[in-house]
């Protein structure tokens, strides 16, 4: 109905992903002690950005969905 839900989902995850990845890249690196030394913001932000972009592309391709 009306809008393809993949577009808002894709947009939201792209923004969240970029926010997280950007923070992971530029922010204080000492906070990652609790996440076993992994920069979880950068890694997971990257994953979410990718997911968001895929959703956006899928939503654009088939507007009827």
């Amino acid at each position: 109905m009306g809008i393809d839900i993949r577009l808002p989902i894709g947009l939201m995850f792209t923004i969240i992903g970029l926010l997280l990845a950007g923070y992971g890249l530029l922010g204080d690196a000492s906070i990652y002690q609790r996440s076993l030394g992994i920069n979880v913001n950068l890694v997971w932000g990257g994953v979410l950005t990718l997911f968001g972009i895929v959703m956006l592309l899928m939503g654009r391709k088939r507007p009827a969905g």
């Binding site: 009306g2 839900i5 808002p8 989902i9 939201m12 997280l20 992971g24 922010g27 609790r34």
Partner: protein, 601 residues
């Protein structure tokens, strides 16, 4: 808890999108059909994700992690036994009648198949249950936000008293859910459920990843915990040898058949998602599509609980402890296991102990503790937003189901018949306000049980357990009559209450936990008692319905076309490609579920 700008931005972003979807859909809400049934225009995969997301509320995320910490991987029975088989069944065998009869709700199907009184009974009990469930969801959320001290800092800055946090949490959640449903109806709820589903996965998957890495994977959990925690079936021979305290027959019949089919096949909250699908084959595929992610949700919600108890104490840093400043917390962590603290008696400030002198653990804190333990700022905001999303999707599911049942099955049937469609659309919108307000009231009432799961099981046992017998007979035996169905339902519900009143679980006190009439039998666990309550209710309803149906006048065959299996044309799906055939999907789902059961035997 120290949240920073980035955490708040993610949370805010989520609110903006959730409300944005509501606003974007507002202009499409022209008829009551759009508002209550999403215009029957939603693609199968969207319905499928909404189907599980509506059920992925507070009870699921917090409760399943709590059960995972308490009972281990055997909690997966709630999925691989207590959900998937029923989901396959409702899609393949029942959807043709729900969707095909053009009924707008499950109670309305009962009206078409049986009579007014059967519908009335179901509609009213269901409406009450949804308000109650949505209230529990809100209550749990507000309590959790308080425990986690999410809003302490902003409240302090604004100079507001800390005691308002509970009320503000409830009201904020209520207003957001109210707004997006008020604007976009069922479509808005469904779209947001899909968004919430992805958010829940996005928030919890990294938690499981980090946790498993930390404890050394599944093998590490196996080494750190007794065998009973890591086997789902091995100890099910007797209630003494598994942590659930149930034997396999009670589990399979009580949970796997009666409760599970009663919920997934007859509860309008989930069935409504499939009824919004754009075609019959989409409606039949919805539960199968839902079952695919559903069977892996245990890894998302149960594993964190297991990791939380398996984590060695040496790895538990003080930073993870909730609210270290509070008196007694150090003692509670000391007496706890892994990341799970013991409960504190608020009146004495001492650790609570059970009859055997062992500390009682606060399992509901498994997920919050895990979030605080592993997540630094940034992803912590995402984890908290995922929690909020799960609470909201659970609430919204209840509110939309309540809306439809109230407007079509109660208002249109008993209060104002034959009004214009615009009138019912308006009533639906107003009902959203009324439903949310009633849920807020229920939230303030929901305080009795500490394990949310157990409470919901009890309510479902009374109301839902007999229901599936009624539907099974109604759909597959054309001789079933309205009088039979109604009497059966009443006696089933009564049987559930009687059984609960006459039995109790080991160590429980008579009262809300059973035994309020007299104690004829003592079950090894509360879960076993609940499962057997359901079994008694179902059998009673089944037998009484048959008995009364045989002695009352059946409806002529021509009135039952489209409502009963033997009189309804089978759906033609030969033209569909194999991956769109409901039966093929069902087989894939069944095989995968069996494999999972074997792997975690």
């Amino acid at each position: 808890m120290n949240l920073t700008f980035i955490d708040w931005s993610i949370m805010l972003l989520y609110f903006v999108f959730v409300l944005g979807i509501g606003f974007a859909l507002k202009r499409f809400m022209k008829t009551s059909n759009d508002f209550f049934l999403a215009g029957r225009s939603i693609p199968a995969w969207v319905c499928g994700l909404a189907f599980i997301s509506a059920n992925l509320g507070a009870q699921e995320v917090i409760g399943m992690a709590a059960s995972g910490a308490k009972y281990g991987i055997a909690t997966s029975h709630f999925y691989w036994v207590g959900a998937i088989p029923a989901m396959i069944f409702v899609g393949l065998f029942m959807m043709p009648f729900y969707y095909g009869s053009r009924a707008r709700s499950v109670p309305e199907y009962l009206r078409l198949r049986f009579d007014e009184k059967t519908r009335g009974f179901n509609a009213i009990s269901f409406a009450l249950m949804t308000v109650f469930s949505s209230g529990i969801s809100m209550y749990a959320m507000a309590r959790l936000l308080g425990t986690l001290h999410v809003f302490d800092a902003p409240f302090q800055q604004l100079g507001l008293p800390a005691s308002w946090i509970f009320h503000v949490s409830i009201l904020t959640a209520a207003i957001i859910v109210l707004l997006y449903i008020f604007l976009g109806g069922l479509t808005s709820a469904i779209y947001n459920e899909v968004l919430q589903f992805f958010l829940i996965v996005a928030g919890f998957l990294p938690l499981v990843w980090l946790g498993l890495r930390n404890v050394g994977g599944w093998e590490g959990i196996k080494q750190k915990l007794p065998a009973a925690y890591t086997h789902s079936w091995a100890g099910m021979g007797s209630p003494e040898t598994n942590l659930l305290g149930v034997e396999w027959f009670g589990l399979v019949m009580g949970l796997g058949f009666v409760l599970s089919f009663g919920y997934w096949c007859t509860d309008f909250l989930v069935v409504q998602r499939a009824m919004a699908a754009d075609s019959m084959s989409s409606a039949r595929r919805t539960p199968q599509i839902a079952a695919l992610p559903k069977m892996f949700i245990p890894f998302l919600v149960i594993l964190p609980g297991l990791i939380a108890v398996a984590l060695p104490r040496t790895d538990v840093t003080p930073a993870a402890v909730i609210d270290t400043a509070q008196p007694g917390v150090a003692a509670a962590m000391q007496a706890g296991q892994g990341l799970i603290p013991a409960k504190i008696d608020p009146s004495t400030g001492q650790v609570k102990v059970d009859k055997d002198g062992r500390p009682e653990l606060d399992y509901d804190l498994a997920i919050p503790q895990m979030l605080l333990h592993y997540f630094p700022t940034g992803i912590l905001g995402l984890g908290l937003t995922a929690l909020l999303a799960s609470f909201m999707s659970g609430m919204a599911g209840n509110v939309t189901a309540f809306n439809t049942v109230w407007t079509y099955d109660i208002y249109q049937s008993y209060i104002k018949k034959g009004a214009s469609d615009a009138h019912y659309l308006l009533v639906g919108r107003l009902t959203t306000i009324f439903g949310v307000a009633a849920s807020v009231l229920a939230a303030y009432l929901a305080t009795k049980f500490n394990n949310i799961m157990d409470m919901l099981q009890l309510v479902f046992a009374f109301v839902n357990a007999p229901l599936f017998a009624t539907f099974l007979l109604g759909m597959f035996w054309k001789r079933t009559t309205g009088h039979g169905a109604f009497t059966g339902l009443l006696s089933g519900t009564l049987a559930a209450a009687m059984h609960h009143g006459l039995t109790i679980s080991k160590g429980a006190l008579p009262g809300i936990k059973g035994g309020w009439i007299s104690i004829l039998h003592t079950y090894p666990s509360e879960m076993a008692q609940n499962f057997w309550t359901a079994i008694y209710a179902w059998v009673t309803c089944f037998l009484i319905t048959i008995l009364i149906s045989v002695v009352t006048k059946p409806r002529p065959d021509r009135e039952l076309v489209g409502l009963v299996y033997s009189l309804t044309e089978k759906p033609q799906e030969g033209h569909l490609p194999w991956h769109k055939k409901p039966a093929v999907l069902a087989i894939v789902v069944a095989v995968l579920t069996v494999l999972l059961n074997i792997i975690f035997w």
